[in-house]
């Protein structure tokens, strides 16, 4: 057992380090659950009116964005929460579990703290175990919170099932992050890997659920489906939760095996010697920022492009399903664009735009991490002004966003075009994707302003994407006030008629100016 020596101590250190961060995570996720429960009731005071939701959630785009739709034929508050909103609670728990593990494993190792710890009377597996206990504990506590949120639905057994589902998602993705932390040499790459798996899991279950009502074989490759297939508040069953339990155990065993085989600080891929000179191209703050972002741009482009291809390839079955829809649903779905495929593709473009915004935040986040690591100091001690330095990161994020947007738009457009045998579909979809760039620019501006004011505030930018996602998918359903909808930078992009002085390009310009000013005045 000496390989686990010191686990208890490390656990206390991790909890002490995380007391604010983890409490905020757990608190926000539980709050999200409470809010969703409340928002549905507020928007539809009459439970019978919930049928109006069906038009959205039973269409292909709705299925892709929500779940297999158990119990939605006769919707109640409880089934709407479990079938529509629960996915987003699960998503938040997944990120919570993954970040907690990476933070306490690879991030510590990368910074050299693990070396100091490893030199003490601490077993090889102790840090990994402590990280696992923290992540699982946080997932379980969140699960209990969600039981509280759904208690009002009146079925304790179903509430506990839903809570267990949320915890299971957190635990599985903590395990995935634990494996990623062994493979990648840097915390950033480990987190990117874990995020990519989370994204893939959302897409896989979306495609799987569109392929067949209530989910197909493909859905079962996604941890989110394992949770959703328990059908809480519809026809509850506990056995699908065996899958995450077994998978999590395998993932943790795999991460322990990988850990036992590698040196401290090393990843699984051996280092090869690189260039001895910088290329001629790498010559200033802008090219440096782009060079540092290169790997991330390639990875996100592949990921977003692939998700576009996957969703786009379903265009034909979306069109087919049109024929089978009842007339009243057709009117609901076609009211806006007149073309079901376009409506479906527009929703997917919005989803990809959110992913581009995530890329952009991670990219601008470099401002804060470079400053914390001390690398900003050497750059600013060279002939680079503060404005240029912030500007270089912002430009790199913008250029990267354009590339990732193009990848997503082309993926979606080409797949839709190929699926319908109609090449005229390609460019309109690329343009539809590009229409979100001003919104992404707003996100970049806000992130840069936060990073410039206080590097520690930079994470607050995620709230913008979170709000954008909520307002975009559910804003109309829960009848958010117009002002709340407008607070989402993605909102006016979808409705060109709303562009006014508050349009995204202008707002991003203001944020950008604020960022430059706050950097110049900080010392």
């Amino acid at each position: 057992m000496s390989a686990f020596a010191g686990t208890g101590m490390l656990l206390r250190v991790a909890l002490r380090k995380d007391r604010v961060r983890l409490s905020v995570w757990v608190g926000l996720v539980v709050l999200l659950a409470f809010y969703c429960v409340d928002a549905v009731k507020a928007a539809y005071p009459n439970e019978g009116d919930l049928a109006a939701l069906l038009g959205f959630v039973q269409g292909p785009a709705g299925v892709a964005m929500t779940g297999p739709g158990y119990g939605l034929d006769t919707p109640t508050y409880a089934t709407v929460f479990a079938g529509v909103y629960a996915l987003y609670v699960y998503l938040a728990v997944a990120f919570m579990g993954a970040t907690a593990v990476v933070r306490h494993t690879r991030a510590d190792e990368e910074s050299g703290r693990s070396e100091l710890i490893g030199a003490g009377a601490v077993g090889r597996f102790a840090p990994l175990t402590a990280a696992g206990v923290v992540a699982m504990g946080a997932s379980l506590v969140t699960g209990v919170g969600i039981v509280g949120a759904t208690w009002s639905y009146g079925s304790a057994a179903d509430a506990w099932l839903l809570g267990a589902c949320a915890a299971s998602v957190g635990i599985v993705f903590a395990g995935i992050a634990a494996v990623a932390a062994q493979l990648a040499e840097r915390a950033r790459s480990a987190m990117s890997m874990a995020s990519a798996v989370i994204g893939a899991a959302v897409v896989v279950r979306g495609v799987g659920d569109i392929m067949r009502e209530h989910g197909s074989w493909l859905s079962w490759f996604s941890p989110f489906a394992w949770a959703q297939q328990t059908r809480p508040f519809a026809e509850p069953r506990w056995w699908p939760l065996l899958v995450p339990v077994v998978v999590a155990a395998c993932l943790w065993a795999a991460s322990a095996v990988l850990l036992a085989r590698r040196d401290m600080g090393a990843g699984l891929v051996a280092q090869r010697p690189g260039r001895s000179h910088a290329s001629r191209w790498l010559a200033g703050p802008y090219s440096l920022a782009l060079r540092l972002e290169r790997g991330s741009i390639i990875g996100w482009s592949l990921g977003v492009g692939f998700s576009g291809l996957l969703y786009g390839s379903l265009a034909a079955s979306v069109q087919e399903s049109l024929a089978n829809l009842p007339q009243n649903l057709k009117t609901v779905l076609l009211a806006q664009d007149g073309d079901l495929v376009d409506a479906y593709a527009a929703t997917m473009a919005f989803f990809d735009a959110l992913l581009v915004a995530c890329f952009a935040i991670v990219a601008v986040h470099r401002l804060a991490s470079e400053e914390a690591a001390g690398r900003a100091e050497v750059v600013l001690a060279a002939a680079v002004s503060r404005r240029t330095w912030v500007g270089a990161s912002v430009v790199a994020a913008l250029v990267g966003s354009v590339v990732v947007t193009l990848a997503g738009g082309l993926g979606l457009g080409i797949a839709v075009g190929a699926s319908l045998g109609d090449s005229s579909r390609v460019w309109p979809l690329v343009l539809a994707q590009a229409a979100y760039l001003p919104a992404v620019a707003v996100v970049i501006g806000v992130t840069a302003a936060l990073a410039s004011a206080r590097p520690r505030w930079v994470s607050a930018a995620w709230a913008l994407v979170g709000w954008g996602m909520f307002a975009g998918f559910f804003g109309q359903l829960v009848s958010l006030p117009q002002a709340a909808l407008n607070a989402s930078p993605f909102h006016s992009s979808t409705s060109p008629g709303l562009r006014s002085s508050r349009s995204p390009p202008l707002r991003s310009w203001r944020c950008w100016r604020r960022a430059r000013r706050s950097w110049a005045s900080r010392w």
Binding site: E110, G274, A283, G374, R375, L380, A381, A382
Partner: protein, 299 residues
């Protein structure tokens, strides 16, 4: 001749900590100025103010004739900097980092860069994250020393280097000053400062406690002499230049000796028949310890 660095009355506070409290520093062209002080005395804070990374709350500072905060970019083209704590971009190789840093400040001397990589025995093809502390230091040193700068600012430039590399570093610095360039370095390695530097400024708790040419400051230091003589050596204590005289029971005397009076005192000792003599040369260390010591005592 106008000073390269002229700082007076610098004040900088972080919350309730006064990192600098009326600090003065002057560096003349062509000299190697050392900047000494215990940990946390305000060395790095001063350097960051000189680079315009921090803004002083009070006091005046001129660097290469400009204002380091306002004219940062223009001034940085004329200086090169080695930070105290070197972190490299994990995904860039050492060679790429050197070129990038050089180009960011306006280019570096290719020939000298190649020569320095050779002399410091650095493998430039490794990724930043795989370098040891000493090798990271070499990357930062090469990037700075390969620059054609008027002023080199270095924060503990040899920390983590092995003795061979330290010697190489000293050679390079001498070559630079031979060309009339100015160097400001902070250090804890007193032997290095004694070998390299023309002037010394000692900072403690954010205040200048000593500054001047090293040769002038030597008078503040004395050799520590321990001697045993055949005859009674009591009279030695009365001689000019002898301080802190003490004699033990077995004829052993210890005292500290001003350098200017060495000849007279040695003659007097010889007249009493020297049996054993040990003399520790005047060192910066003595001065350093006495300055630091009083700092501790006063706290």
């Amino acid at each position: 001749m106008t000073a390269v660095i002229e700082a007076s009355g610098l004040v900088k506070t972080f919350g309730r900590t006064r990192a600098l409290d009326g600090f003065d520093l002057t560096v003349q062209p062509g000299e190697v100025a050392a900047f000494l002080g215990p940990n946390g005395a305000g060395k790095s804070t001063t350097i960051r103010i000189l680079l315009g990374l921090l803004r002083a709350e009070a006091g005046a500072v001129t660097l290469l004739g400009g204002d380091p905060w306002r004219d940062a970019v223009a001034l940085h083209r004329r200086l090169a900097y080695v930070p105290g704590d070197v972190t490299l971009w994990p995904t860039l190789t050492g060679g790429e980092a050197i070129d990038t840093l050089g180009r960011l400040r306006g280019g570096l001397n290719e020939a000298r860069k190649r020569e320095l990589i050779e002399r410091f025995d650095l493998d430039p093809r490794k990724k930043g994250r795989t370098y040891s502390k000493g090798n990271r230091q070499k990357v930062a040193l090469i990037a700075a020393l390969a620059a054609d700068a008027e002023l080199y600012v270095m924060d503990e430039p040899t920390s983590g280097l092995d003795p061979l590399m330290e010697a190489e570093f000293q050679k390079v610095v001498r070559e630079l000053t031979g060309e009339g360039r100015t160097v400001l370095l902070s250090s804890h390695i007193l032997a290095e400062v004694e070998k390299l530097c023309d002037t010394v400024t000692i900072i403690r708790d954010g205040v200048t406690v000593q500054s001047g040419r090293l040769a002038d400051l030597r008078h503040l230091t004395r050799s520590a002499v321990t001697a045993r003589t055949r005859d009674d050596a009591a009279g030695i204590g009365e001689l000019a230049g002898v301080h802190d005289f003490a004699s033990g029971a077995d004829g052993l005397v210890t005292f500290s000796l001003d350098g200017d009076h060495t000849a007279d005192v040695m003659a007097a000792l010889a007249a009493r028949g020297i049996v054993a003599l040990e003399s520790a040369p005047p060192s910066l260390e003595a001065m350093f310890l006495s300055e630091y010591g009083t700092a501790k005592a006063s706290k």
